[in-house]
Symmetry: D2
Subunit: 363 residues, 4 copies
Amino acid sequence: MNTYGKMFRVTTWGESHGLAIGAIVDGCPSGLIITPEYVQKELDMRRPGQSEVTTSRTEKDTVEILSGVFEGKTLGTPISMLVRNEDTDSSFYEQIRYVPRPGHADYTYFVKYGHRDHRGGGRSSARETVGRVAAGAIAKRLLEYFGIWVLGHVVEIHGIKSNFVFETPEDLRAAEMSIVRCCDPDASAQMEECIKRAKMIGESVGGIAEVVAFNVPAGVGEPVFDKLDAELAKALMSIGAVKGVEIGVGFKSVTLTGSQMNDEFAVNAGIIETASNRTGGILGGISTGKPIVCRVAVKPTSSIAKPQKSVHLKTKEEVELTIAGRHDPCILPRVVPVAESMVAIVLADFMIRGGFIDPVKLE
Amino acid sequence: MNTYGKMFRVTTWGESHGLAIGAIVDGCPSGLIITPEYVQKELDMRRPGQSEVTTSRTEKDTVEILSGVFEGKTLGTPISMLVRNEDTDSSFYEQIRYVPRPGHADYTYFVKYGHRDHRGGGRSSARETVGRVAAGAIAKRLLEYFGIWVLGHVVEIHGIKSNFVFETPEDLRAAEMSIVRCCDPDASAQMEECIKRAKMIGESVGGIAEVVAFNVPAGVGEPVFDKLDAELAKALMSIGAVKGVEIGVGFKSVTLTGSQMNDEFAVNAGIIETASNRTGGILGGISTGKPIVCRVAVKPTSSIAKPQKSVHLKTKEEVELTIAGRHDPCILPRVVPVAESMVAIVLADFMIRGGFIDPVKLE
Amino acid sequence: MNTYGKMFRVTTWGESHGLAIGAIVDGCPSGLIITPEYVQKELDMRRPGQSEVTTSRTEKDTVEILSGVFEGKTLGTPISMLVRNEDTDSSFYEQIRYVPRPGHADYTYFVKYGHRDHRGGGRSSARETVGRVAAGAIAKRLLEYFGIWVLGHVVEIHGIKSNFVFETPEDLRAAEMSIVRCCDPDASAQMEECIKRAKMIGESVGGIAEVVAFNVPAGVGEPVFDKLDAELAKALMSIGAVKGVEIGVGFKSVTLTGSQMNDEFAVNAGIIETASNRTGGILGGISTGKPIVCRVAVKPTSSIAKPQKSVHLKTKEEVELTIAGRHDPCILPRVVPVAESMVAIVLADFMIRGGFIDPVKLE
Amino acid sequence: MNTYGKMFRVTTWGESHGLAIGAIVDGCPSGLIITPEYVQKELDMRRPGQSEVTTSRTEKDTVEILSGVFEGKTLGTPISMLVRNEDTDSSFYEQIRYVPRPGHADYTYFVKYGHRDHRGGGRSSARETVGRVAAGAIAKRLLEYFGIWVLGHVVEIHGIKSNFVFETPEDLRAAEMSIVRCCDPDASAQMEECIKRAKMIGESVGGIAEVVAFNVPAGVGEPVFDKLDAELAKALMSIGAVKGVEIGVGFKSVTLTGSQMNDEFAVNAGIIETASNRTGGILGGISTGKPIVCRVAVKPTSSIAKPQKSVHLKTKEEVELTIAGRHDPCILPRVVPVAESMVAIVLADFMIRGGFIDPVKLE
């Protein structure tokens, strides 16, 4: 299924080296101000070729809004967005038509679908996230209309940890200043160094990105299966290369006792709230009113320059594969806008489902 | 939403101290042999009061199958299963009618729904998992018909780690012999000790459970949003107390390089497969044919005997709360059958969606 | 699929001669006053054995509400309702285990599912509508909270037409006084006569029921596929024996010209509205604010006393079948509450989807 | 919601006078041969400007397939199809920016969404069916692969009835030879005359179209809510201007007795089947194996040249409106391919859901 969400619904389509790639957003209320420039700005954040630590594939990724917006405002009808693929030299990929790259979805797509577009991974390419970010731009815009901010940053790369502590949305905007999207300048420098070293030796590295949603009201989420944390887990795990998701203190909770883990309740300025936020802003699948905090573990990029063993899908001969193409030695910086987009899409959907946002029109 | 799945659909209903609790399974093919005794056996695995390390609430939890099964076999129509609540003394809970327990969903349900059943957590009680396990029993039965086994065990409690290494489904059945569901006898003994100690001092502890699905064919899962790992993440994160989910090496991938992480391809007995299984049996959201491996981080039980601070929801007075009721000092042993159930439900759904199981009838 | 609706979701389950039959309503906001007596009253309207023109199967059909209601009000959690089957002598049905009754779903269930419950039609029995009416009772209650009334009446039986013209909801309540649910006393008497005559000669007759929803605000419905009329058509056509659905003037529109069909706009007491309502309260799939008017064509009851030809499913021998069991010679009177229920369920769902009813809680 | 279907999913997008209009098909198995030429041929059937009895708006409606097809075959990934809008002179429509046209959705869109694209009806324009026909072309192709043919024809226009009796798919292809898509040459000539007369006097007329699906195997359809006839009713009623839907003998069943209506069972060449097909190929919501027969009542075109009364949405002044633009005096001929498309989409979806078509790949 290439559609996500129940009331705010996102459908993405397109293969890496096909004619175009795009997204439809269905269920955005009417009256929201949207311009191509606004969506373009978000797309530029995930675009390749931004720095030395990302792939050198250079595409302008110019977005066209084909429907759903009239005289500058959404209509409540489907918003169709399109990006033409430009830098699609596929000659390199002929060698992998029948040789699956380790760590990629080449083999599983071959087994599942039989016929597949092998060029650049086809549908399983990270390029699919262009559609997610375009749709995420609409979701973010809608949330911002209600004062909600979704911001991500990198907190760990290959063992190098950020010591950054945030309080407000403004704090996290520091990530935009770092080419690895890490708010801690020291860690940022080390991470950059680490990525360059990995690239030099034909390797790749992974890391952890954190996304925080500020000002989400208490009461968002739908037990018992569509819990807010459950949907966030799905949305984030659906991003390629993500191998783990955690909420609040996450896996660290395993080493705490009940009294160390539980957030006690207190009254603050007349409002009941949890005094701490180890739970990451969610209890019983419903938001508490505190910031939503989630993290994703991202594996090292599968494409590496080092030779690897594979098998020819037709002849079943074992072969050695060297991936010469352009690739990111570390995908973390470019995962950040995608993870933000997925969190924003989940929240937009749940805000509508919970009656916090009118499903049809803004006032 | 209290329904999970697209083709194999599970709906659970019921409050902890209401008249009954139950589940509907819609979309199970006809012709599957199901008896109440079979479902009962699975329910007995999650039942409280089984040992010193679980709650002393004692309920027989006798299941009644009200529809969907005729002359011992499923009809392809909805299977309705019902368990009456018996041990439902609610007198204790009057004190928490307006005082939310830290770590529980009392506060968020109050904010979201206004009117709530405060007795034993109502709908947010772990008792809701009775329905999940009953439905999971049907899912497991269906998978076993196709040779697929879903088995869980506890791999860590409060820092104590299992050193157990498994190869076959049979290996993991050892978990049933341990009251903490840990296959490593030494770790099991230490875990038991740790839980008893926690109980003695009015505390609770958390841990990690792992679920493995054997013999899942390659090709199961639906990119780009309904990836197999994404749905597993949602299904597992929807279990109360779960704060993190990981697939394969999970968060550990963050410290590996690309060549250390990637599973190379090899030919084994004429079959192409990954030589290792760090990816946990899933690439690009589609199963590889290797065992599916996932883990959940479970926080320490929220109910503890130690006094905790809370706030009266009406008067906004700060109060000290001591939870005297029966509770599990560690929920891990009882999470295992629930996590197995959710994995089985996800797989049953995807096996049907992928054309591996006929959606209507078994041969 | 045994679930209907997107936000207000109804699941029915149960076979005619199984242990019980029931429904789950998921997505009803919290705070709605619901009692078993209220639901019972609605069920009594569809109960068999009410008069000489309905089947003599006598069941009390006592409903039990097992969850979702606490201290007299809905919780926002699933409402599980159960009715035990009592008058389930199945001995008659042994003769049709392998002999499909003409007009019934015996044959198609056999082909589709292989294994089936042949007793009384099993899942395909009209008895399934017990669950629909129980769920419809909740939907009606919710709509009435917002001033919306859904009322049905019989407008034609076997060519005998009602000349009744209604203006207000009160007018249509006259249907309750007629045992054939027809508001026109003359037609009602003729219809009753016609049904008795059909019964006497071992035959059955069909007719048309109309359902009207008053006070539905303008703006309800979701183009382009989930149009209000489209969903009504689905919901009504899903009732057994319904062979046609029409909205407003329906099939009669075929003989009108554009100027005869179009409802012109006018201002009435400061409000813009259509001056007439030939369109049945819906334009472009969205309600206009005028009464929603829909009609269903119901075929003659399939069970008739006259001998009919059929074929043994195993031996393929042609056999003559005489259905001796109890049955309604005309199902129309009992279709009315079912059709009302389906219209109410559709409207409840769309009112929530359109932001007219808060999806989570009533004020 | 702008998406239809559960496994074979169609999303349409686009406004009448926006940049483009299109459709996504998600869930089509891989391996199906699809070319732009094939889809174009289907689109040409619904194109305006084909004859004297349709609108003179002239657009080439050239389709571009942007994704989901590689080397001539489907990939199992979303198929994105795009048609640029060309003949979009909007100057005429400025006069109706605030004056709703009787019979159109102008008023209801204004009430529902507030902000709307008034040009040519925007999203509510019949132009939206371009997307349906493009998607329907994929559905038809998939069905034809399995020997299923979906064919429509006009059976009545403004009281003039076709006397055509069909037996095979070939018989119905005669409709393509008639500019009003009626297989009965005499009726066809009268219908054409009738439409021209209506046009001359500034009026419009309606009619009935019938769609027949041949070779659908027995067993297709999902009780109790997603019955095959229920979904067909929804799909067909979702087409603009449709006011009624019937299956088999439909509304005529109201005048029959049970023995006249029921189709008896017989053995034909060793196969059990119904001897007649009054039920239209569906019993209990499941196909019988006989042709599926459904009909739609289409109201007279809402746009007429005669002056009509309306109200200015802002000033609430009553105004007289004359619609000078191009329009079809009778939409029936162009409804046929749209109705065929909807039936094909429903069948493709149910064939996959019922296990008749592999959901992932063709052999």
